[in-house]
Each structure stands twice: as C-alpha cells, then as structure tokens.
C-alpha cells in the first residue's frame, strides 16, 4: 500500500449539530483511511452517525473539526461551488428512495449529471446510450420513473451515479426500498462496479448485506467502534515499512 492509493483520509473529523439548546455529536473524532477500490459497509443503529459520515465523505456536509483528504487533496474547507465540482467529478450518490426526477425519462435522469457538468449533447447521448445498455435498460430509456419497477428505478439511479465515472460511490441503504430478490440484483450490480475498481461505501442496517463487504465499519454514538480492516491495513502498512 502506498500513499497514492489512499483515496480518503479522515483525521479527527467531528460534526456537531445543535437541536435547540442540545448538542448532538453526530461524529466524534473519526479517523479513517480508505484505499482506492475498497468495498466497505458502514453499520450501526439509527442516529449512530452513519449518514452524517456518508454526507461528509460526499462533501454534502462539512466537518466542524478535523481534516479530510480526498484523492490527495485537502477538501475540508472548500467553498460550496468547489465542493460541487468535486462531487460532480469524483462522487456518485445512491439513495434509498432513488431520488429520480419524476417528470424526466430514465434516459434524461441518467443524463442529468452530464448536463450539469456542461458536457456537449453528442457525447452525452453516446454515454447515456452506453450506460443504458450496460444496465439492461435499453427498453426503458423513454419511460418515466412511475412506469418503472423499484429495481429498475434503482438501476437508473445507479446508472446516473456512475455515468460521470466517479472514483467513489456512496450508497445510503440502497436496498432499503426493495424486496429481497431485486435487492440482491442491485447489490450484485454495485459489487460488479466495485470489481471494476470503484470505491464502494454502503451504509446499511442489513446485517447480511453488511457481511458481504470486505471491510465492515461499525458506528455507535458518532464514533467508530469497530473496523474489521483497521488492523489488517495498519498491519500491512507496518509490513511494508519494515
């Protein structure tokens, strides 16, 4: 393992919310290194800070304390528009409730990040077509979200998250709204993407889904209570340095 392979480095990250007078420590002193191409499940009870961690990783939220390096760059204190650019280029989000734009067709939903990035229409059309084909959605290209099944919707959402070819894929309960069989399909799809080298981080309640990841991080009350890979990686780094 070299420094260059480290995609994410979180050092002493903290995030505190204020609910009225009460302070809620959503994240406390999080230290985390994630290598390019890892497959990680973040688990823990509700309110343990999993989603906040995901939001901080995806630059939707900003930490109050600590330093965040993404792909070797310090992104802790980026301005909102800079954050948006990093999200556009590096991060793909997959949500529990799909978040498809209801008035747009499947193809137009997938095209959205390309359009927002200002890519020219010819290239867009080509990339959307390719992605539709890859995800077996050719026949559904002109359907609106309400004409698609849950599995198809999540496939469209995954296609949208990956069409910009991000290095980091963040999934928040991706199977939460799906039945078991379609959930399996979606997970298989995500794992296939991970197989192609995309770093995959899944937040989930589902023990069996979590167990499939190569590395499990358990959180409670805003802190990491266990990390299956920590010892391995620390060990590996030590091995290399010796």
């Amino acid at each position: 393992m070299t420094e260059a392979d480290t995609l994410i480095r979180l050092a002493h990250i903290g995030r505190t919310f204020y609910l009225g007078d009460a302070q809620v420590h959503a994240l406390r002193d999080i230290n985390l290194n994630i290598q390019q191409g890892e497959y990680i499940a973040v688990m823990g009870p509700s309110g343990s800070g999993k989603s906040t961690l995901l939001n901080v990783l995806g630059l939707l939220d900003r930490a109050d304390a600590g330093v965040y390096h993404l792909a070797g760059r310090d992104v802790t204190t980026l301005a909102a528009d800079e954050q948006a650019r990093v999200r556009s280029e590096h991060v793909g989000f997959i949500f529990q409730s799909f978040h498809l734009v209801p008035r747009l067709t499947a193809a137009a939903n997938i095209e959205l990040p390309l359009m927002l990035a200002g890519i020219n229409p010819d290239e867009r059309a080509q990339r959307v077509k390719q992605v539709l084909h890859d995800y077996g959605l050719d026949a559904r290209a002109e359907h609106r979200p309400n004409e698609l099944s849950g599995g198809q919707r999540q496939r469209v959402a995954i296609a949208r998250a990956t069409v910009m070819q991000p290095t980091l894929l963040l999934a928040d309960e991706p199977t939460g709204n799906l039945d078991k069989v379609t959930g399996e399909e979606v997970v298989a799809l995500l794992e296939a993407l991970n197989g192609q080298g995309v770093t995959l981080i899944v937040v989930t309640h589902d023990q069996s889904l979590g167990a499939r990841a190569r590395r499990q991080i358990k959180m409670d009350d805003g802190a990491i209570v266990s990390d299956t890979a920590a010892s391995v990686i620390v060990g590996a780094t030590r091995d290399e340095s010796t």
Partner: protein, 400 residues
C-alpha cells in the same frame, strides 16, 4: 451547464405542470394584453390629434397681440398700452427672408344673407396667402386676389357647406352676399376640408382682412399666420419675426407661437396620456407578476428534493439559481408573447369594428412589452430562485 440545456430543462419543468403554467402565463398575458391595447388606443389618439393639427402644415408661426407676463405695477396714472398688430405688420412680415407668406387674420360670427336665405357662419378676414398657410384649396372660381393696401374689394369666398346651405346646387359665382350691411360678391367656393376637433371648417366664409376689420369695427388684427420655407428651422424664423416686430413696435408686445412648439407640447401631453393608460394596464401586469412569484415559490418547495439531488449531482448554486430564474423568465415571456399577440389582434379587430376609433400599435411598444414581461419574470423569480439556491443539500434531499 449549457444555456440550451437550461432552457430545455426550464420548459420541461413548466410542461410538467401544464395547467398551472398556462394559468400563470395567462396572468401575464392579460397584463400585457391590457397594456398593449390601452397604449395602442392612446397612441392612435396621439396620432389622430397630431394629424388634425398638422393638416394645416407644420411650418406655420402664429403671432398674437399682447404678451403674457408678470411685472411690477405700472406707474400710477400712465396707462400701459400694447400696440395692435396691423395690416402693415403683416405686409412687412411677408418681406422677411425664408417667409413665403403671411396672412393677417380677423374672424367673427355673422349672419350671411344671400339667395333669400340667412345663415349664421364664421367669417374670416384673410388675404391671398391664406390658401398656402392653411393648405386649403378652391373648388370653383378663385380665392381672394392679392390686394393693394387700402384697396381690397368686397369679395367673398364660401366654404363648401355654407355654399350648399345658401345656394344648394345653384352656381353661386357672381351672386351677392350681405353681411351686416356690407355687400360682397362671391368669387369662389372652397374645397371641403372636413372637421377639426369638432369645428366644421366648411361652414365658413372668407373676406379680405380690411373688409373684416371694417365689418367688425376693429383696429387691430387678431392674429397673423406666417408660413416659411419647409426645412428651415422654426426657431430661426421665429427669431427674425420677433426682431422685426420688436423694431416696429418698440417692445415685445406680441406672442409668437411656432406650430412646432405647439405640436411638441401637444405631443408631450398626449404621451403622458398614453403612459397613464399604459400604467393602468401595468397594474394587471403587476398582479400577473405576483402570480409568477407565487407559482415559483410553490415550485421551489415542491421540488426541494430535486434541488437537493441536483446539488448532490454536482450542480453549483448559481446553476440552481439560473434554472429557477430561467423558468420564471420563460413563464413570463411566453405569457407576454401571448398577451402581445392577443393585444395586436384585439387592436386590429377594434379598428375593423370601430373604424372611427383610432388604434395604432407601434413596434417599439410590442418589443418594449416583451422586454417588460421578461423583466417581470426576472424580478418575480429572484426571491424563489435565491431561496432554492440557498437550500442545504442534506435537508433538501431529506425533505418529503
């Protein structure tokens, strides 16, 4: 994000709520429609009134005796006098450079007796330059001849209506007309000129000025109308006229009004009138604008989720701002375009149904109204679009 995509996105968002968008546009359309219709009528009026005044030509200067001014009280016992405008003044004015004619004018209302009939009419005392100054023409016979001073003969030219009333279809040339004890011989009949602001210009008679002074027992003229060469600046002619009369009178005891001044003043008044009726229409436009603010505010709160998603997908705040602004501008300008078309069609229809009502839609109003509706869209969109772009992406994504 490319502009073309932003426009397409805005139109998609609008067409997703077809009825709602149409109703919102209707608000703006009604506003623009009323502005266009009202200003069209105002502008038509404007043109109509100006045309009424310019039918006598625009290169005319009117000189009236007396000067309106406020001064200190005159020394006790010495009466202040204003010299009268005289025939000699008029003749001197004819000699000025660039002046092509001057007609000394006196008028009154008298009973004319001829052919066994009586009719009360307006009698003008003018001279041979009258036809040129007031661009009128003679239908039969001839107009008053250019007379030598103190030697004008008792001749009369009848307006077309007066001729019809007094002589019917008979040939009036050579007939005698009696006005207040003086006898005149008919030498011509004017071509019909129609009405001017409700005054019948054909129910008139023209006699030499000197005879009119005699008839009405006056010493001075009521007005002198000077016509000058087309294309010469009215101010310079007015200046020469003033200096000549000052020289003759020793003081400025007369008032010079150029047709241009008068038309400008009139035009200003009419413009204000047009603007005032336009502003009345503007009130409905304002209501339409409020409608857009309402709909855009609803749209932002309905699509909070979508805004959060777009931010997660890498949309900059400015992009979100422009998307919503674009939507509001598109709503307003499409509505404005519809209103403009309705307005022009209604104006044309009005003109067709009521030809007497002057209606005119200048291009500048059409383009101006489109720009105004875009501006309204922009203004109406600012607050909702800003609040959209300020949303926190996490909260926006979580909103249901």
């Amino acid at each position: 994000m490319l502009i073309r995509d932003a426009i397409r996105f805005a139109i998609q968002a609008m067409s997703a709520h077809r009825l709602r968008s149409l109703l919102t546009m209707l608000g703006i359309a009604v506003g623009i429609w009323s502005v266009i219709l009202l200003t069209s009528i105002g502008e038509g009026m404007h043109r109509y009134v100006l045309a009424e005044f310019t039918q006598f030509g625009t290169n005319v200067i009117a000189i009236a005796p007396g000067k309106v001014k406020t001064g200190g009280q005159a020394p006790a016992g010495i009466p202040s006098t204003a010299r009268l405008l005289t025939m000699e003044d008029a003749i001197a004015l004819k000699q000025l450079p660039n002046v092509t004619g001057a007609t000394p004018t006196v008028w009154g209302n008298s009973e004319l007796a001829a052919n066994g009939r009586l009719r009360r009419s307006t009698v003008y005392g003018v001279d041979a330059d009258f036809t040129r100054v007031f661009s009128s023409s003679v239908r039969i016979g001839s107009f008053l001849p250019a007379a030598n001073m103190g030697d004008s003969r008792a001749m009369i030219v009848l307006g077309s209506k007066l001729r019809d009333e007094l002589f019917g279809q008979q040939n009036p040339l050579g007939a005698r007309v009696k006005i207040g004890g003086l006898h005149f011989r008919v030498i011509g009949v004017m071509a019909p000129k129609g009405q001017f602001l409700g005054i019948d210009l054909d129910d008139t008679a023209f006699i030499p000025t000197e005879r009119a002074l005699e008839l009405y027992n006056r010493e001075g003229l009521m007005e002198i109308h000077v016509i000058y060469q087309e294309g010469v600046a009215s101010a310079s002619v007015a200046k020469v006229v003033k200096s000549l009369l000052k020289l003759r009178h020793g003081a400025e005891d007369f008032t010079v009004t150029t047709q241009e001044d008068m038309l400008n003043t009139l035009s200003n008044i009419l413009n204000i009138l047009t603007m005032a009726v336009g502003a009345l229409g503007g009130i409905s436009l304002l209501v339409g604008g409020v409608g857009i603010v309402t709909i855009m505010t609803i749209a932002v709160s309905e699509r909070t989720n979508e805004i959060g998603l777009m931010m997660a997908l890498g949309a900059q705040r400015a992009t979100v701002l422009f998307l919503f602004l674009g939507e509001s501008v598109a709503l307003a300008s499409l509505g404005g375009l519809c209103g403009l078309l309705f307005g022009i069609v209604t104006a044309q229809l009005l003109q067709f149904l009521l030809p007497a009502l002057p209606v005119h839609t200048p291009w500048s109003f059409a383009i101006g109204s489109l720009l105004i509706s875009m501006m309204i869209g922009l203004l109406a969109g600012v607050i909702p679009a800003r609040s959209a772009s300020m949303l926190d992406p996490i909260n926006a994504l979580r909103a249901e």
